[in-house]
Amino acid sequence: MKIVMAVIKPFKLDEVRDALGSIGVQGLTVTEVRGYGRQKGHTEVYRGTEYAVSLLPKIKLEVACPADQVGKVVETIAAAAKTGQIGDGKIFVTALDHAIRIRTGESDAAAL
C-alpha cells in the first residue's frame, strides 16, 4: 500500500476530488497548507509598507491506496490539478505499512 500525498492549488480541489471519485477512490484527507516553491509569494501592504508573504495557500491531499492503484491515482491527480502554470504543485508517493479502519477493525486493503 502507498500513501499518495499531493500539494495542489486550492481551487482545483473540487475537480481533483471528482476525478478521484470517478476512478473509484473512496476516501481522502484534505489539509489546508501554505507552500513555498518556484512560484513566488505575494506582497501584503500595510499603510505603505510592503510585507513579502512568500507562503501561498495550497491544499494537501492524502490518499491511501493499494500499490497497484498508485499509478492511476497519481495520473488522475496530475491530470486534474494541472493548469500548466507555475505553482501547480507536487505529488509525493510514500510507503504505507499498515492501515486500520477504526469502526470495524478491518486492516490493510480492506480498511481503505
Binding site: 501584503e44 501592504v45 500595510y46 499603510r47 510585507y51
Partner: protein, 483 residues
C-alpha cells in the same frame, strides 16, 4: 504569572483608594464657581430659543434654575452614546484588526479597560479639575464625586426637571455635559494605546493611562475648554484664543504626542507583520466615522445650525481624506487597501475635529485632502525616517492630523460660521494662535508623559518579556485566544 502580576494589581487598588482619600478633603473646600463663571463657548448658541418658555434654559439666565431644552438634551444624550461607541467597540476594533491575531484580545481589552478606568477617575475628580472654574491652568474640586451636579443649591430636583445649568452647556443638564466630555477623555487615552500595542504590560498600561489622564489630559482640557482656561477662545480673559472646536489639540495632538513618547520608551517590537483582519479594522473605522458626528456636531452642545454645519464639514472632510489616502496609496504602491482607506477616513476625522465649528464645506474639502496626504506621509516617510515603532500610528495619524487640522482651522475659519475669521478672511494672526496651542500641548505632554513612563518603568516595568511577546499577549496575559 500570578505572583508577577499581582503587585501591579494590588498597587492599582491602593492607588484608587489613595486618590479617593486625597480627593475627599477637597470635597467641600472646592473653588466656588457657580454664578460668577464666564459664559463659556456654547453660551451664544441658543439665544434665539429663549423667548418662548420662561422656564426654559436659554443661555442668558444661565445661573438660575431652569428646564433644559429637550431637543438639545436629546442630541447630547445621543452624542454621548455614540462617542462612547467610538472607543468601544469602534477604536477597539480599529486597532484590534491591525495587530497580529495573537494580540487582538489584549488590544481590544486595552480600550475596554481604559474606558472603565478613565470613567472612574472622571467621577472621582478629573471632571471637576478639567471643566470647573479654578485657575487658567487647572480647575477646582467642587464637582469631585459629581457632587451638586444636579443643582448647586440642591433645592430643585431631577424629578421636577429643573436644575442649575452649567455655563459651558447652558441648555442641557450638567450630568449630560459631564458624561459627554467623559467620552472625550476616554477616547483620548484609548488612542494612545495604538503606539504601545503588542508589547506593553497590561498592568503598566493601566498605570500609565491613569496617571496620564490625571496629569496630562485634565489640565490640557482645562486650558482649552475650561471656563477660565488660558487658551479658551470663549474666555475673554484667555491669554491666547486657540480655536479647537472638538479637540484637535486636546484630543489628537495630545494623544499622538503621548503615543510617540511611549513608542520611543518601549522600543521596537520583536517581530512585526501585516494586520490579521482588516474587516475588524473596517468596522472600527466605520463606527468611528458614525460616532464622530456625536464628537464634532455634539461639540455644538445643542441641536441647531452649528451642529448641522459641523456634521456637514465632518462628513465632507472624512470622505475626502479617505479617498485621497486611497488614491495616494494606489499611485505609490499600486494597490488601494482596506486599511488605507480606513486610515485616511480617520485622518480626515482627526483633521476636521478642531475646525468643525469654524469652517465651511469648501474648507472641509481642502482639509480632507491635506489630511489624507499628510497622514499618509506620517505613517510612511516620517516614521521610516526616524525609525520609531509607533505600532498603529497614533502619532502619524493623530498628532500630525490634529496639528494640521488645528493650523488649517486658522486658515479656513469663516467668521459667519464660528465667530472667528481665519487667514483667508484676513486674520492671519489666528494661525499663530493655533500654532501656540499645538506647540504648548506638544511640549507639556511630551515632558510629563516621559516622566510618568519612567516612573512606571522603574516600579513595575513597561514591557512584557520576549517570550510573552513572541507567543502573543492574549494567552500569556489574559489566558484567552481567538479561534
Amino acid at each position: 504569572m500570578t505572583s508577577k502580576k499581582f503587585p501591579g494589581l494590588a498597587a492599582l487598588a491602593v492607588a484608587l483608594l489613595l486618590a479617593l482619600a486625597l480627593a475627599l478633603p477637597a470635597f467641600n473646600s472646592s473653588y466656588a464657581q457657580g454664578q460668577a463663571a464666564p459664559a463659556g463657548n456654547a453660551a451664544s448658541v441658543p439665544a434665539a430659543a429663549a423667548a418662548a418658555a420662561p422656564q426654559a434654559c436659554d443661555g442668558v439666565k444661565i445661573t438660575e434654575n431652569c428646564t433644559p431644552n429637550s431637543g438639545d438634551t436629546a442630541w447630547m444624550l445621543t452624542s454621548m452614546a455614540i462617542v462612547l461607541m467610538m472607543t468601544i467597540p469602534g477604536l477597539a476594533l480599529f486597532y484590534g484588526g491591525m495587530v497580529r491575531k495573537k494580540n487582538v484580545g489584549d488590544t481590544v481589552m486595552t480600550s475596554f479597560a481604559i474606558t472603565c478606568l478613565v470613567s472612574i477617575l472622571w467621577f472621582v475628580f478629573t471632571y471637576s479639575i478639567a471643566f470647573r472654574g479654578g485657575t487658567p491652568f487647572i480647575g477646582g474640586f467642587d464637582r469631585a464625586f459629581l457632587q451638586n451636579i444636579v443643582s448647586n443649591t440642591f433645592k430643585a430636583g431631577v424629578a421636577q426637571n429643573i436644575g442649575t445649568p452649567n455655563p459651558l452647556a447652558p441648555t442641557i443638564p450638567e450630568t449630560v455635559y459631564s458624561m459627554f466630555q467623559l467620552t472625550f477623555a476616554i477616547i483620548t487615552a484609548a488612542l494612545i494605546a495604538g503606539s504601545i500595542a503588542e508589547r506593553m504590560k497590561f498592568s503598566a498600561m493601566l498605570w500609565f493611562i491613569g496617571l496620564w489622564t490625571i496629569f496630562v489630559y485634565s489640565p490640557v482640557a482645562h486650558w482649552v475648554w475650561g471656563p477660565d482656561g488660558i487658551f479658551n477662545s470663549a474666555n475673554p480673559d484667555a491669554k491666547f484664543h486657540v480655536l479647537d472646536f472638538a479637540g484637535g489639540t486636546v484630543v489628537h495632538v495630545n494623544s499622538g504626542t503621548a503615543g510617540l513618547m511611549a513608542a520611543l520608551m518601549l522600543g521596537k517590537r520583536k517581530d512585526i507583520g501585516p494586520p490579521h483582519n482588516m474587516v475588524l479594522t473596517m468596522i472600527g473605522a466605520a463606527l468611528l466615522w458614525v460616532g464622530w458626528f456625536g464628537f464634532n456636531a455634539g461639540s455644538a452642545v445643542s441641536a441647531g445650525m452649528q451642529a448641522g454645519m459641523a456634521m456637514a464639514v465632518t462628513h465632507i472632510a472624512t470622505a475626502t481624506a479617505g479617498f485621497t489616502w486611497m488614491l495616494v496609496e494606489w499611485l505609490l504602491r499600486g494597490k488601494p487597501t482596506v486599511i488605507g482607506i480606513c486610515s485616511g477616513a480617520v485622518a480626515g476625522l482627526v483633521a476636521i475635529t478642531p475646525a468643525s465649528g469654524f469652517v465651511g464645506p469648501v474648507g472641509a474639502f481642502c482639509i480632507g485632502i491635506a489630511a489624507g496626504i499628510i497622514c499618509y506621509w506620517g505613517c510612511t516617510g516620517l516614521k521610516r525616517y526616524f525609525g520609531y515603532d509607533d505600532a498603529l500610528d497614533t502619532f502619524g495619524v493623530h498628532a500630525l492630523g490634529g496639528a494640521a487640522g488645528a493650523i488649517l482651522t486658522g486658515v479656513f475659519a469663516v467668521a459667519a460660521y464660528g465667530g472667528t475669521a481665519g487667514a483667508i478672511e484676513g486674520n492671519g494672526g489666528q494661525i499663530l494662535n493655533q500654532c501656540i496651542g499645538v506647540v504648548t500641548v506638544f511640549v507639556y505632554d511630551a515632558v510629563v508623559t516621559l516622566i510618568i513612563l519612567k516612573i512606571v518603568d522603574l516600579t513595575i516595568g513597561l514591557r512584557v518579556s520576549e517570550d510573552v511577546e513572541r507567543g502573543g499577549l492574549d494567552l500569556a496575559l489574559h489566558g484567552e485566544m481567538v479561534q
